[in-house]
Each structure stands twice: as C-alpha cells, then as structure tokens.
C-alpha cells in the first residue's frame, strides 16, 4: 500500500526539461517529452484506471485496465506503455473503453475474495478503487470454478504478511524487489491462470533471499503484502513527514498515524535522499520507541551500587546541577565535560556543546564521530577545505567507475546501496577495496571488476600504490591538478608516489593485493571518465585513518575527479546525524562550522552572542576524558545519547574510567551499558517525540517532526536547556527553530538555513547562504573551498598492532543489515530474528588448524581482553583475518579492541586488532562479570518504584 497521501502518476517522470503538446480528452496540455500517455494524463488531473502501473516502477503493461483511444491508431493501446507524441489526440473515456475495463475488472474480481469490510486494505485498496471507478456491478462468471481463494497466508516475516488469496499477480512486488531494491528475491511461479507470486523457490519469505526492505509491501495495490501493524491497528488517518533516525543515508518518511499511534512508516517519494525507498530498519524497526524497557521517569542515585530513585524532572535537574557545581568548586571547571549525540537533532547537539562551553566554561565536549568519522573531518578539511563529503547521493547516477573503500553499503547504508546497484546494473564499473568479501563483490546482477582484498591496516599502501600506477603511467589530469591545486605540492606528491617503494610489486608485499589487480584497478579509476570514491569506517578506523582520507582526496584531485556530478570523495557516514553533530561544533577544538577556537574573530562572535568568555584552548577528546578520569582530573560527564561503554574500544579501560567519576549523567531511551555506571538518568525522547533537524552524509538538512508527546514529558533539548539554567547559564528557547536561527546567525555555511527554508525546499544541503540560497549539492565546483586544493604526502606507516606468535590473527569489525550500532534500538525490535548475537567469521584454513567447527563457541583474545562468541567458518574472510560485529553487549567485541588510534584524531583502530581464537565451552571471565553486573543493575532499576513510594 502506498502512502495514504501519495498521488500516483502511474509511470516515472521522465528526466528531461523538453516538452511536447498533446490533447487529452479535448484538453491541450504540455507534458515532458518521453512521458507515457498515462503519466501525461495523470499529471494533468486525468486519472486513467490502472492496476499494474505505479510511478515508482517502469511500465509493465499487463493489467489491460489503462487502455485508451488514440486518434489515428487502431485498437486500444495501453496508456502506461505508450509514449506521448506531439499533436497526439487521446481519449481516456468512451463507452467502448468502459466496457473493456469492466470486462477486465470482472475477470479480476471473479478470483478475488469479496471480504472488503474485514480486509486490512479496506479504504486504501487500489483494486477496490478500480472496481468503483469502472462501475463494476456484476460478476457473471460466478465463483465456483478453479480459484485461489483458499491460498494460505505466509506470516513468516515479523513485519508483513503475504496473503496470496488477495493477489492479482500484477508483478508490482516482483518489480519493486528488482528495480527499487535490487534484490530479485521474488518471482512469478508458473504461468497463465496458475501463476502466483513466490519468494525464492516458493519458500516462506523469511527463508528466501528477501531482505525485508518492504518495497514490495509499498508497491502492492491490494492487501496481499501488508504490514502486520495495519492488520493490528487499522488504516492510519494522517501523515507526518519526518526523517529516519537510523543510518547516515537520512531517508525521508511519511509516518502514518492514527491519533498518536504510528501505524506504519512509508518512505517519502519526494525524499531527496531516498526517493521513496527504505530498508528494514527505517520502515519497520521503530517499535523500540514503545518498548517496555523505556525509562520515562528521571532517576538519581548516590553511587552505582545503590538502587535508583525515581524523582521529578525538577529534582533530577537540581540534583545534577548541584553535583556538577560541587565538582566544579572542588576540582575546577576543567573536571567537567559533555558528549553530544549523533542520534539527536542538530539543535540538541548544538545546545549540549553550548552548555559545555558557556555553562561549564571549558571545551571538554566531544561526540561519537570521534570513534567513526573524525578522520574524515580532518582529512577532507586539510586537502579540500571542508569537513564533509563532496557529493549528493544522486551523483552516483552519473558515475562510470565506483570505488568502494572500507564500506559495506548493502548492510550499512542499504538505501544508497540500492541506488548504487541500479547504476552498476546499468553498466558502471566497480572496484572494491576491502579485506572481506562484502556482498557487492558478487551479488545477483552485480559483480565487482576488481576486489583489492588487502590485509587489514594497509589502506595507505594501497592508495599510494594506486597513485603510483596512475602517476607513472601518465594517467593523471595535470591540467586540472595544476590549475586547481598548488603546483609545487602536486609535483612533490607525484615524486613521492612515483618512488619505487610504492610500485605494485612492493605494494603487493605490503598489502597482499596482487600487483596486476592493483594496476588494473588504478587504470580503471583513472580512465573514468567519472570516477567516484565511496568510503566508510574501513578507511577511518585505523592508526592512519586521516592519512588514508588525505590519500583518497589526493587521488581524486590528481585525476580531476572532483567538483562535478559523478565523481568525488564521499564518506558513508554511520549515524543519522553524525554529519550534523560535527557541524554543530561538537569537537573540543572547534566551534560550529569547523572553525578552530584559536580564531579570535570567531570566538568574539560567539562571545558577543552568548555573553560569556570562551576558553581559546582545545578541550579533551573522549579517550582523553577517560584517561583524565583515571588520573583524577575529570569527574563529571553529561552524556546525551551515546553508549560508549559498549561502542568504544577496550571496554575494561572504559569501565574503570566510568567508576572513577563522581557524577555521570546519562540521557537516553534505555538503561544502556553506559547508564549502568551513571548517577543521574535523564529519560530521552525518540525522534517521534520532538522537532528538529538531522543532517545526512550528503550534508542534507532535513526536518524531524514531532508525532507524539515525549514519553517522559520533555524533549532532549528542553532537558539540556533546563540543566543549563540550573547550572546558572540561562537558555530561553521556546522551540528548536529558534536554536537553528542562532546556528544560522553564527555559522557562515548555515546562514540561509531555517526551519522555514527546509519546509519550503523539502531539505537543503549546506553550504546554504547568500551565494547558494538553495544549498549546495556538489562541492568544490570551479574551485576548492580552501582556495587551492592541497596535496599532502601520505607515507605508509605500519600500525603497531601486528600479528605475533601469541596473537597470530587480525580481527576486523563491521556491521550487519538488521542491527544498528550498539543495537540499543534494533535489539528491542523483531530485527533480532535476523541477528540475535555477534558471530566471529573465520576462514576454513584457520578454523581447521584450531579445531573450530562452524557454529562452535570460540574465545577471541587480544592483549587487552578476551570474550567468547560463536564461530562461522566462511571464505568471506581471508586466511589470517577474523571478523565480527559489536551489536550485542554480551558478545563483548570491544573488550578485545585496543586503545590504538588514528594519529590525527584519536579515532580508534577498530579495524585491526591482533588476536588468537580457540575453541572453548564457556563464557569468558569478563562475560561472567558482565552478566552479574547487568543483573545487579537491572535489580537496582527494578527496585526503583519501591524506593519512590
């Protein structure tokens, strides 16, 4: 079922600005060239009856309901497959057409249950609408013959049901799975009257290749594929356009609501990042918002061994402020700090950093981007001048060569992966640089031209090797580089990469990537003509994360692949608002818009606006905060929406740091791992419960709109404001739009941004200012933001984390489709049915040597800690390397990862840890402790009510 407010024009809008003039039902209309007759009519308010056509899919021409008459043509062409021609005269209504359409509908209805009143689609069923539209009054064939009315429903998927008795075999689901999602999991089984829709080889949906994106459910014109939530709640009565709170793709959704009950989430066809598509998380996994684990009353306690006490908001905020003031008086202002959240809104991140700088009087503020894309900020700012990706997602549609480095889009950024796969199916070439065989290396209808399966930790050697081939074979775009960049730096860089050290032969020795593969990939990238780099945490989460970001920017500049559509260097950012939280001045060394504190002019601007002095010295980064907590100089931390006890490396080190602090305030939806060490708990609000904006990976600022009141009574920004007021620094915002107005006032790249601008344009990509009042899809057009592009030499420095006799394997980590980050949200949804624990992938060779069986328990040990999880023996991973995820706290992946980090930003080296793996029969000591501790903390939470009464 489409969104209840969508208008369906039948076939996609052609991508052209040219028009032709045609006559439809005696009206002369001007329509885009290449429109179908159906689209042309619908765009002018003339609805031609249809069933198999929908404007998100290519025309198919099977239902025969959309027949029209065209002057000078014989017969009755289908309007969905007939393109308009200049001067064409079309009639969409006539007696003959009405007869034909009634006849077609009569056949459909002869094999369709007449249970409309109890059908979940009742009220929004296209079949029902068409029966009405054509005036069907009678079915002459009776219902006694062979039929499909007894077909059984497949309810295997937790989110939607497949009821084939309602199916009209229009193939919209099959085509949506192919065209929209690119998974090809559905088919038509059999033919003629016997044909039915099947998942896989006529399997239950859950056993098939289906990834539960829901595109088929959205495309279905009847209730054959329908959300179980609609069965449960009935039809929604209104829609609210908002933005997904999962990954950095930033899908726009229409939340379909009845009262304050979300009935379903439907991706917005006008969404500029997702164009009406979504993944299993965004569309279906919102149930955490109403999960019984949600805490909706503020909590306080003196020590983490005490039971929690439920208190009023006023008391909780007064208590938190008195504790923070006590710490400030006793240990000095630098003993306090705060963490902004990449899951909260821009306005909320801005407010937390303002509270720290203005209210606490220091710069000890950081954000979770520290542990994911901080090297992106550093590397791209250094080379190009802006701490953000260069492209819009739509740019991939112009790419000829796509190079994916250290990213796994089908799992991490599924909706962009679908767009990318569409381009790849249309012929773009693909290079993948990854230690693991990710899906895109070979997945139905997509096959990478080159997979550079490097050893973890050797990215910079590979990028230098690619550059070596391109420079020494004369494949650079010297005219571009010399004009747009500093020619001396360019020459120095060329000399650097041309050195024999980075010849393909030598790079093969350093990285394991075959010299010939490297050469071919380099030539393909250089040849383009439009070559685009997409990268993820496999680039940044290394000791040389920033160096690698610089290396990619160098390569793009040297080949002229920057400053237009189809090219660029694009980070696939992890969390929904990680770009935004960085933009808002969440880093300890800079104010909003990436302006360093040492810039007196910027500081003065803020000082004037905020009415306080701003400390010109950078503050502590997250890992520094932990170290400072352990040495006794950091005592109080306000953490909004981040769970670093689970997400950050070397868990035991972090746990010790948490215990060393005197007042930890956690603001979150659930008692997460970090909150187990907290003294004050501020209940958070979900994205459904507040207004604000998120900024996605393409710098696109989109609205988050309140659908229901906050479960705990206050939105997160209101809590920060109240806390600031209690700390003695006044904040007086009546609405988040006022916070955005302040951001715009103080940030040149946001000058033109306001809620009004976003509402008017749908979304806006920064920079948005007087020069670019409607935003900037592609950066660095005609020149770099920093002036001249800066080439920086990128020497490969081997990481200290090396395999040894004691730890002979290298662990690298990643994500799965069904889970999101620490899993606090997705683990509280039926997404668990796809992924209920973290699994260690190990190559058959390494498994055999160690006597490890598929599915067996294994210990995973590094020099800092060990944990136990199940093994999967697979050739997806190369010999000598193991792989896992970190979505489940008990699996303890980050007990094993180390404190090694990127040289420039301290982004942890999650992607390389020397480990040993061995079969075991029981959990590790840490896991036993974790279980005991968690049990105790849950008891302390349960006991809270009795303390209150």
């Amino acid at each position: 079922m489409q969104s209840i407010t969508d208008r369906d024009l039948g076939t996609p809008r052609p991508k052209t600005t040219r028009t032709v003039t045609v006559e439809i039902d005696h009206r002369t209309v001007e329509v885009p060239e290449g429109s179908t007759v159906m689209h042309a009519a619908a765009a002018n308010g003339i609805a031609v009856p249809k069933l198999c056509a929908t404007d998100s899919l290519e025309p198919f021409g099977s239902c025969r309901l959309c027949l029209v008459e065209i002057e000078g043509r014989r017969g009755y062409p289908a309007s969905c497959t007939t393109p308009v021609e200049a001067g064409m005269k079309v009639r969409t209504q006539s007696e003959r057409l009405a007869d034909l359409r009634r006849g077609v509908m009569e056949l459909y209805i002869s094999d369709h249950p007449l249970d409309c009143l109890t059908c979940p689609a009742n009220g929004h069923c296209e079949l029902q609408d068409m029966a009405g539209a054509v005036g069907l009054r009678d079915v002459r064939y009776g219902y006694e013959g062979v039929h499909h009315l007894d077909a059984e429903t497949d309810a295997s998927n937790p989110y939607f049901a497949f009821d084939p008795s309602k199916c009209i075999v229009c193939s919209r689901c099959v085509r949506a799975c192919e065209e929209t999602q690119g998974t090809f999991a559905l088919t038509v089984d059999g033919r003629g009257f016997a044909s039915t829709i099947a998942a896989g080889m006529n399997e239950p949906f859950m056993d098939s290749e289906c990834v539960s994106c829901g595109a088929c459910v959205q495309a279905c014109p009847t209730s054959t594929l329908m959300e179980k939530s609609v069965y449960a709640h009935g039809q929604p009565d209104r829609t609210v356009t908002t933005t997904c709170a999962y990954c950095g793709v930033g899908c726009s959704f229409k939340a379909e609501v009845k009262g304050t009950q979300v009935v379903r989430m439907v991706p917005n066809k006008d969404g500029q990042a997702n164009h009406g598509h979504s993944c299993v998380k965004g569309r279906f996994a919102y149930g955490y918002a109403s999960h019984p684990d949600r805490i909706t009353q503020p909590l306080v306690r003196a020590s983490i061994d005490d039971p929690w006490k439920e208190v009023s908001w006023d008391d909780a905020i007064a208590h938190a402020a008195s504790e923070f003031k006590r710490i400030r008086d006793r240990y000095g202002r630098n003993a306090l700090g705060g963490i902004t959240s990449s899951r909260c809104t821009n306005e909320e991140a801005y407010l937390v950093q303002k509270l720290v700088r203005a209210g606490f009087g220091n710069n000890n503020v950081d954000t979770c981007a520290r542990v994911c894309h901080s090297p992106t900020g550093y590397g791209l700012k250094t080379t190009l001048g802006t701490s953000a990706g260069t492209q819009a997602f739509d740019s991939v549609e112009e790419a000829d060569v796509v190079m994916i480095i250290g990213a796994n889009p089908t799992d991490g950024h599924p909706v962009f992966a679908s767009q990318m796969k569409r381009r790849l199916r249309a012929g773009a070439r693909l290079i993948i640089v990854d230690p693991r065989v990710i899906d895109l290396v070979r997945t139905p209808h997509v096959q990478a031209d080159h997979h550079l399966q490097l050893r973890p930790g050797t990215n910079v050697a590979v990028i230098n090797g690619l550059a070596h081939v391109i420079v020494t074979e004369g494949l650079t775009d010297d005219a571009f580089a010399n004009e747009r960049c500093d020619p001396d730096e360019y020459a120095e860089w060329k000399a650097f990469v041309s050195h024999e050290k980075y010849s393909p032969r030598n790079v093969e020795r350093m990285t394991g990537v075959r010299a010939e593969t490297l050469r071919r990939a380099a030539r393909l990238y250089a040849k383009g003509p439009n070559s685009a780099i997409y990268y993820g945490l496999g680039v940044t989460e290394h000791s040389q994360g920033s160096t690698m970001v610089i290396g990619m920017a160098n390569l793009a500049m040297a080949t002229g692949n920057i400053g237009r559509e189809g090219v660029g260097v694009s980070p696939l950012r992890g969390q929904n608002n990680v770009q935004g939280s960085c933009d808002m001045g969440s880093f300890p060394h800079e104010l909003s818009g990436y302006r360093h504190l040492s810039d007196g002019e910027t500081r003065r601007l803020f000082q004037q606006d905020w009415g306080v002095e701003i400390d010109p010295e950078p503050g502590l980064r997250i890992p520094n905060m932990f170290d400072a907590a352990l040495d006794g100089s950091f005592k109080g931390m306000y953490i909004q929406g981040e769970d670093f006890v689970q997400s950050d490396p070397n868990t035991q080190h972090i746990e010790a740091a948490m215990r060393a602090m005197e007042c930890v305030i956690v603001q979150d939806l659930f008692l997460n791992e970090t909150a187990k060490f907290a003294h004050v708990f501020f209940p958070g609000a979900t994205f459904l419960e507040k207004d604000g904006t998120f900024t996605n990976a393409e710098r696109r600022i989109q609205r988050v709109r309140k659908i229901m009141p906050p479960a705990a009574g206050m939105a997160d920004w209101e809590v920060t404001q109240a806390f600031s007021n209690a700390m003695g620094y006044p904040m007086r915002y009546a609405h988040p739009s006022e916070i955005m107005d302040e951001i715009a006032r103080l940030t040149p790249t946001f000058r033109g941004v306001s809620f009004e601008t976003i509402d008017r344009l749908g979304s806006v990509q920064w920079p948005c200012n007087d020069a670019m009042p409607e935003g900037t899809p592609t950066m660095h057009v005609g020149g770099f933001v920093r002036g001249k592009g800066k080439f920086v030499v990128t020497e490969y420095v081997e990481t200290d984390e090396r395999s040894s006799r004691r730890f002979p394997l290298l662990l690298t980590t990643g994500r799965v489709l069904a889970q999101y980050n620490v899993g606090a949200q997705t683990r509280r949804t039926p997404n668990r049915e796809w992924h209920d624990e973290d699994i260690l992938e190990i190559h058959p060779h390494d498994a055999e040597q160690r006597g490890i069986a598929d599915g067996g328990l294994v210990s995973l040990a590094s020099r800092v800690g060990d944990t136990v999880l199940k093994a999967r023996v697979t050739e997806r991973i190369q010999p000598g390397v193991v792989y896992t995820t970190f979505h489940h706290p008990l699996c303890g992946t980050n007990v094993v990862t180390t404190e090694n980090s990127d040289w420039a930003t301290n982004c942890p080296e999650y992607k390389v840890t020397a480990v040993e793996v061995a079969p075991v029969t029981r959990l590790s000591e840490w896991q036993e402790q974790y279980r005991d501790f968690t049990r105790k903390q849950e008891d302390l939470l349960r006991e809270r009510a009795s303390v209150r009464t």
């Binding site: 090809f184 999991a185 088919t187 038509v188 998942a199 896989g200 080889m201 139905p444």
Partner: protein
C-alpha cells in the same frame, strides 16, 4: 561411489553442464535457457535442488531461475515416468468420450495429469491431437498410439506398456 541421488552430486552435475554450455556461448547473458535445456536433457528434469547452484553460477537469484523453470511448460522439476501415457483431449477425441478415458487412466494409475506413479513407471499427461482423429478417442503409451480406446480397456493397455526399471 557417490550416491547419484544426493543434492550435492546433482548440483555438481548441473554445474558441469552449465559450464559446458557457457563455453559454447559468446555472451553469458541469456545463458540460462540453454543451460536449463542441457540439464533437462542430461538429467531428465531440472531438480529443484540444483536451482540454487545454477543461480549462483550465473549470478542470479534462485527466485529468478525458479521463475523461468516454472514458466515454461517444457521444463520439469520431477523426472517423467519410464513410460508416458498421453490422453488426447482435442476436439475429435473429446467428442467421442476421451474425458471418460482420461478419468479411467487417472483411476488406474492413481495420479492426476502431470503426475507420476510412485514406482516411477508412468507419467500421465494430456495432449492436444495425436493426428489420429479418425480413430478417436486416442491414447499414446510409450510412443505407441492406440485408437478407439474405451474407458474399460485403457488400464490393460497401460499395463502392456509398462517398461522395466
């Protein structure tokens, strides 16, 4: 000796046939139909269990291959019986009572059209005209055409056409 009936053995054979077919083609796109024909020719049918391996080789989903196999009436996922019993249901035979002959054949064999007896001896199929209209109703058993078949006689004819295992 490997059990020829195991799915793994069948899939291996199907892949061998797929590879041999691919070698004869200039463009691997569009290879699916020739490969399915080769498999059916060699293996007597396209067992469902080989579909995932064929799909993997061609970088398609099993849904796509399954859809093609089930679309074409000529492709079978189960092997035919050792003898095939064709009952003609074209106009002339129907006019002279072939429906009753078909019912008798179904009763005798205990299967419906397109069914194969449990012992693998017979598959019952319908056909539209055997070119024997002058002697309707007609039945073809193991390639031998019989005319003027009565419902009472068809069982005996079938048994006479039983082929050894």
């Amino acid at each position: 000796m490997p059990d020829p009936d195991t799915d793994a053995t069948r899939s291996a054979l199907a892949l061998k046939l797929a590879d041999a077919t691919l070698e004869t083609l200039r463009d691997p796109r569009g290879a699916l139909l020739p490969i399915l024909h080769a498999i059916q020719e060699e293996m007597g049918c396209i067992p469902e269990s080989v579909i995932p391996a064929v799909a993997e080789r061609l970088n398609l989903t099993r849904a796509e291959v399954y859809g093609v196999v089930t679309f074409y009436a000529d492709f079978r996922t189960e092997p035919l019986g050792r003898s095939v019993v064709h009952v003609c249901l074209a106009e002339s035979c129907q006019a002279l009572g072939s429906a009753a002959v078909a019912d008798a054949a179904k009763a005798h064999l205990g299967v419906d059209f397109e069914g194969t007896t449990a012992d693998g001896a017979f598959t019952l199929r319908k056909v539209y005209c055997l070119g024997n209209c002058a002697l309707s109703p007609s039945v073809m058993i193991g390639g031998d055409v019989h005319g003027r078949v009565s419902p009472g006689a068809v069982g005996e004819l079938i048994e006479a056409g039983r082929a050894g295992p």
